[in-house]
């Protein structure tokens, strides 16, 4: 019991300590040369409406993990490129939809987790422009990593959003799906049994388009 109380006290002290110090800044944590390189990437990203805080956080993460400065710069540059690509993708899919920083990050994460570009784009374009998609993109990544085909996962999420299912209920689906997966259910069956409402059957896989013989050998 004394140990628990002591741990609690230490926890509060540490939390208070971090809060009192505030968030560290890249200026305080990076050496001048690395800071200049990171700043240039962040300034460029900001000009393209890519969220800069995420990039600063990546640099701070690298410092905390004691990563050599060149790798920190490379990781920030890579993340900036991914966020820029995600922004272009979502903008093209729904030019008039508001684009929150969180959605941009969630879309980029979905790509990193194996969701194809076409499915990220389709989800943005198929749901109302006002629908927030932070949870939807993240759940899409969860489902794909659980073995559900990306187009089927995306279609399920679209149907749930269209039916007005709250984001919190959509967020619960991967955990509920794990119950089915633990007892050996195929991923799509586990997904169906985890849904908060019955949905229409998802489309069967589409055959690949047949090549047009008349185009062979022609410019």
């Amino acid at each position: 019991m004394r140990g628990l109380l002591l741990a609690a006290a230490i926890g509060h002290i540490a939390t208070a300590s971090v809060a009192a110090q505030g968030r560290p800044t890249v200026e305080a944590r990076l050496d001048p040369q690395t800071l200049a390189a990171v700043r240039a990437i962040i300034d460029s990203a900001r000009r393209d409406s890519v969220p800069s805080q995420v990039l600063e956080d990546k640099a701070l993460e690298g410092v905390a993990k004691r990563v050599p400065p060149p790798r920190i710069v490379a990781a920030v540059r890579q993340l900036s490129a991914e966020l820029r690509d995600a922004r272009a993708l979502l903008r093209a899919a729904a030019p008039r939809a508001p684009l929150a920083d969180g959605e941009l990050v969630a879309a980029a994460d979905a790509r990193r987790r194996g969701v194809p570009t076409a499915e990220v784009s389709a989800l943005r374009s198929h749901v109302p422009a006002t629908a927030p998609l932070v949870v939807a993109f993240t759940v899409l990544g969860d489902l794909v990593q659980r073995g559900v085909r990306a187009d089927q996962a995306r279609e399920v999420i679209e149907q749930l959003i269209a039916a007005g299912v709250p984001a919190q209920q959509i967020a619960d689906i991967p955990a509920r799906m794990d119950v089915g997966l633990r007892v050996g259910a195929p991923p799509l069956d586990a997904l169906r049994s985890a849904l908060p409402m019955p949905l229409r059957p998802v489309k069967p896989p589409q055959p690949p388009p047949k090549p047009n013989p008349s185009r062979h050998g022609l410019p």
Binding site: A75, V135, T138, D142, G147, A171
Partner: protein, 367 residues
């Protein structure tokens, strides 16, 4: 403990551990041990041994390859090898609660006197599994050969088992009656494992009833091990007890005591959850109560973008989990937990993405 493993497998395991290493195997370990083994027929033998093991553990496939090379007095030596493979799959889409497991293993040993043994075992299991308990039934067949025998011994029989898990405790009971050379033997075994702080404890017991016609007595065995981790990759392992004779491979019953230094890539967790983690989702405008199971560690810190990547100590709950309450802005947040002040990991069962630095980073979403 180190009693059933061929020199080829030892070399293979060692080279795999060295060359494939972190890219393919999920975990490897090497035990450097001093042992004493007592046999009713051959007295007590003291040995020094090296025993590498590599392990792959995915959601549907589990495999290990291990070996041991032991040197005895008077320049005697023995080498042993062991391989395990397990494949889990659903038998039919309409039978969602059931899963089928195919298990295979192979053993072999070579002694400096020229004596050799080999054995194989196959098993088919039908599981009914829940979150913390499960049952299975199945059938098994095993074969054994020794360089001094004229043929191959074969044993077949049904099998049934149950397992349960509560907190850091994990228990298994198995019933494996088998028919060998026309006679039926009864065999039951139980195993319990747990972790507390830097200590892993495992205990086992077993009993085998021999038919009168075999001329063999009933036999029981039991023992255990205590593993004390003094860093995240090094531990002292103390083991002792008795083990049963292997009737199929004609290996004798023995008593053993061992002390080993274990070098390992990561500590084996008592319970591994689904391999595909899921992102954590906090409820809008409510503090997120982060709780993670990290068995066998003495300290866990949370680091995330909202802390500026500064560590914040997590607290240990009475159920053994580590927890911390955080209040976050909407969006996607990234974090790691730091175990014992040195290992940056993704909590078990939590979705992750590459962090860009060669590691992984967890996702926490606030709608």
């Amino acid at each position: 403990m180190y009693s059933r493993r061929p020199i080829i497998a030892l070399a293979l395991a060692a080279s795999l551990a060295a060359s494939v290493g972190q890219a393919a195997a999920q975990r490897w370990q090497v035990d450097l041990a001093g042992n004493t083994v007592g046999y009713d027929t051959a007295g007590r033998i003291t040995s020094a041994s090296i025993a590498p093991l590599i392990e792959w553990n995915k959601r549907t496939v589990y495999a290990t390859l291990s070996g041991a090379l032991a040197a005895f007095e008077a320049s005697q030596w023995t080498s042993q090898g062991h391989g395990d493979f397990s494949l889990l799959f659903a038998p039919a889409r309409s039978l969602r609660l059931l899963r089928t497991e195919v298990v295979g293993s192979a053993d072999g040993s070579v002694h400096s006197s020229g004596y050799r043994t080999a054995g194989t075992r196959g098993e088919l299991r039908l599981h009914v599994a829940g979150r913390s308990t499960g049952l299975w039934i199945g059938g098994t067949a095993a074969t054994g050969w020794t360089s001094s025998s004229t043929g191959i011994a074969t044993a077949v029989g049904p099998t049934a088992g149950a397992w349960g898990r509560r907190g850091a405790w994990n228990a298994t009971a198995v019933w494996t009656p088998f028919r060998l050379e026309g006679a039926w033997y009864q065999q039951v075994e139980g195993r319990v494992a747990t972790s507390a702080g830097p200590v892993d404890v495992m205990g086992y017991v077993g009993w085998r009833g021999a038919p009168t016609v075999s001329g063999l007595p009933n036999t029981s065995w039991g023992g255990g091990s205590v593993t004390v981790w003094f860093t995240s990759q090094a531990a002292l392992v103390f083991g002792g007890g008795t083990y049963a004779s292997d009737l199929v491979q004609a290996l004798p019953k023995g008593r053993f005591l061992s002390a080993a230094i274990r070098l390992s890539r990561g500590r084996r967790t008592v319970w591994a959850g689904p391999s595909a983690g899921r992102a954590l989702y906090a409820r809008d405008r409510e503090p997120a109560d982060l709780r993670f199971r990290v068995p066998g560690v003495s300290r866990v810190d949370l680091v995330g973008d909202w802390t500026g990547w500064q560590p914040v100590p997590m607290q240990r709950a009475p159920d053994g989990r580590w927890f911390l309450q955080v209040r976050l802005a909407p969006g996607v947040h990234r974090f790691n937990i730091v175990v014992d002040g040195e290992r940056w990991i993704v909590p078990e069962g939590v979705a992750s993405v590459d962090d860009g630095f060669g590691g992984k980073i967890s996702l926490l979403v606030v709608p």
